[in-house]
């Protein structure tokens, strides 16, 4: 009796231990921090069917000749494309460059943020894909600016230029200037790889590295590092040469005309 009881307790303890270990060790299901409620998904579907469906098709399946399918793009792509005004396009033949976002998706308003989240939740729930990070704003700005700069020059500068002044690709496509991109937009761009940009998943650039890159861009863009005076657009020797001629040489020719005038 005691022996049977002992065995029973042992099995019970083993089962409890196994169940506990299972609960502890098996990873939690991959979902965003805030569980999207069905209401939010429904709201997102409504937005999708109003603003996106004509090009991207029902059920994110795409419309031949009009727009790609959105299965697997994730809400990171939704946030980047819609909050920067790239989507929805104003006209079918637009190239999808940054513009003022539609008022209902303006990330600067509560309504716009809620709509962006809802649209993202619908896309995420229907097709899956890279997710918008849980952090926002200052939480996305890393601390090691110099390390970010090195990574930026290695991964980003070949299209976006040393300090985010943009550049060119072939066939009339331009990598955007980074003057006005928010940390969220830069982060989701790296995650989703819009247009010609490669995807920088968390294995290529860890979240910390992405945040350092964002910190670097913020520290050098605009006139944030201009100890020497007017930046001349920071486009390098092109504008400097222009100034050498248009300001320097023209001023000197004026001087010579003054000194050399017949008195």
């Amino acid at each position: 009796m005691t022996r049977r009881l002992r065995h029973g307790l042992l099995v019970l303890a083993a089962l409890v231990a196994l169940g506990g270990a299972y609960a502890l060790l098996v990873p939690a299901p991959q979902t965003a921090g805030a569980q999207p409620g069905q209401a939010q998904i429904d709201q997102g579907r409504a937005l999708y069917e109003r603003a996106c469906i004509s090009c991207h098709g029902a059920n994110l399946q795409g419309a031949p000749g009009r727009g790609p399918g959105l299965v697997g793009v994730g809400d990171a792509a939704v946030y980047f494309q819609v909050s920067t005004g790239r989507m929805p396009l104003a006209r079918a033949e637009d190239r999808g460059y940054r513009k003022v976002p539609a008022p209902e998706f303006d990330p600067d308003t509560d309504q716009g943020r809620a709509n962006l989240a809802a649209l993202g939740a619908y896309i995420e729930a229907t097709g899956g894909g890279p997710e918008v990070p849980a952090e926002t704003g200052p939480e996305l700005i890393g601390s090691d600016v110099a390390h970010g700069g090195e990574l930026y020059r290695l991964n980003c500068a070949s299209c976006h230029q040393f300090t985010g002044r943009g550049g060119i690709l072939g066939a009339g496509r331009y990598p955007p200037r980074l003057d006005v991109a928010t940390p969220e937009q830069m982060y989701t761009a790296m995650l989703s790889g819009p247009m010609a940009m490669p995807v920088f998943g968390d294995k290529q650039l860890t979240p910390e590295e992405k945040k350092d890159i964002i910190a670097y861009v913020l520290s050098v863009r605009g006139r944030n590092q201009a100890p020497g005076g007017f930046t001349l657009g920071e486009l390098g020797p092109t504008t400097e040469g222009l100034v050498a001629f248009v300001v320097g040489l023209v001023a000197l020719i004026g001087v010579a005309a003054w000194i050399g005038a017949r008195s």
């Binding site: 090691d144 600016v145 110099a146 390390h147 700069g149 090195e150 020059r153 290695l154 500068a157 070949s158 299209c159 976006h160 230029q161 040393f162 300090t163 002044r165 943009g166 550049g167 060119i168 690709l169 072939g170 066939a171 009339g172 331009y174 990598p175 670097y216 520290s219 050098v220 590092q225 201009a226 100890p227 020497g228 005076g229 007017f230 930046t231 001349l232 920071e234 486009l235 390098g236 020797p237 092109t238 504008t239 400097e240 040469g241 100034v243 050498a244 001629f245 300001v247 320097g248 040489l249 001023a251 000197l252 020719i253 001087v255 010579a256 005309a257 000194i259 050399g260 005038a261 017949r262």
Partner: protein, 500 residues
Amino acid sequence: MGLVARSLARGTANAFDRRFKAAGAVRRQASHVFPKHHSFFWGEFALYSFAVLVLSGVYLALFFVPDTTEVVYRGPFEPAQGLYMSRAYESVLALSFEVRAGLFVRQLHHWAALVFVAAMILHMARNYFTGAFRRPRELTWLGGVALLALGIFEGYLGYSMLDDLLSGLGVRIFSGLLLSVPLVGTWLHWLVFGGEFFGDIWISRFFVAHVFLVPGLLIALIGMHVGLVWFQKHTQFPGPGAREDTVVGERAMPGFASNTVANGVCVLAVLGLMAGIFQINPVFLWGPYVPSQVSTYIQPDFYAGFLIGGLRLWPRWEIHLGAYTVPAPFWVGLVLPLVMFALLAAYPFLERFSTGDRAAHQVLQRPRDNPTRTGIGAMGLVFWGILFLSGATDVLAASFDVPFELLVWAGRIGLLVLPPLAYVVVRRICVGLQRADRDVLERGVRTGVLQARPDGVYVEVRRPPGGADRQGRPIPLEYGGARVDHRPATSPEPVGEEPR
């Protein structure tokens, strides 16, 4: 006070004269007559920019360390904190952020370099289009061509040795061009870099060349150039009294001397203002050179723009001779600039050969008076200009929203089509301007006043500058090569009518 100063000056001058017998020579040189024209001050821009370059360069050389040793940055510039970089680049960051006036002097040096070369181009164009290079001044012209080539090379060396990411890509191009030379390319590369790209001695070599060899050559050539202008006398534009055998102008002292000193002070002022107002080449933002990194908008300074433009336009035509390959950049990166400079240097001799004009010329020509030369000059400038603009195809494409490929093809076609077109158009403009001048001299200045002839025809009243003879016919004047006043006469004097 004035009395003391005057007696001091007299005492010093007398002391010098007793020891060196200088009075005669000084009087002769001080009486040297300089023709005056505003464009004769353009060459001085380059001279005074060079003086600024030497002075600011000495200050920079006190702090720049030409060393490729890798160090970790621990200075005040946060975006570079903890990065690996060469000692050279670190010293430039220190120079920019920790040395008193370091950033200002560096910007002054760079602006002066750009203006130096730009002023040489301007000065050369003036000399070309007015025929100042003709006998007896061929040597001055050759010296000028050498100065331009050396000036470009000197600028490139200085821009490169900072070892930042922007200039490092230019060094890589230079290395590639050396390697592209048939047969001896590898040897040339080893000669300059001491090994494969980029080794660890190139900065000290570039530095020695930049602060010692090339400036020494530049100073020697500038001395020769200016000395020749002094001893051969300056050319002059034709005008009242200004002929081949007489000079009209101001004496060296005090007229010319005060003008040139004022010009020098103004050059310093303009360069100082530019250095203080406009940020130039912020190398701290470009980052240290790392071969795996690259950026968009990679350009050289403007004077090397025509080289990069050629490289961007030239098709990928490789020549394979058995085991040997002549890569495409060789033709456009090395042969083309050599041909361009050779033509520039040979121009005075080519013109003499083709026109048979062997006479000595002290008097300049107006560009319109030699349409062929002016047309050829326009052709050369357009050729250079298209190469130059093509060096910035990326910035132009992004700034003006034009596809990059379109610009490349526009450059390729333009390079072949536009220079001959420029020749034809400019030549025709010159001929037209000549005719307009002759028209004024032969028939008179237009007055805008119409006169009815008895037969009912209206003709414009002309006022001939040479007056009219008794029959009322204008007395034609000979064109003397000087500017003809085309402004409409304010008080029309009808031809043939005696002034009352």
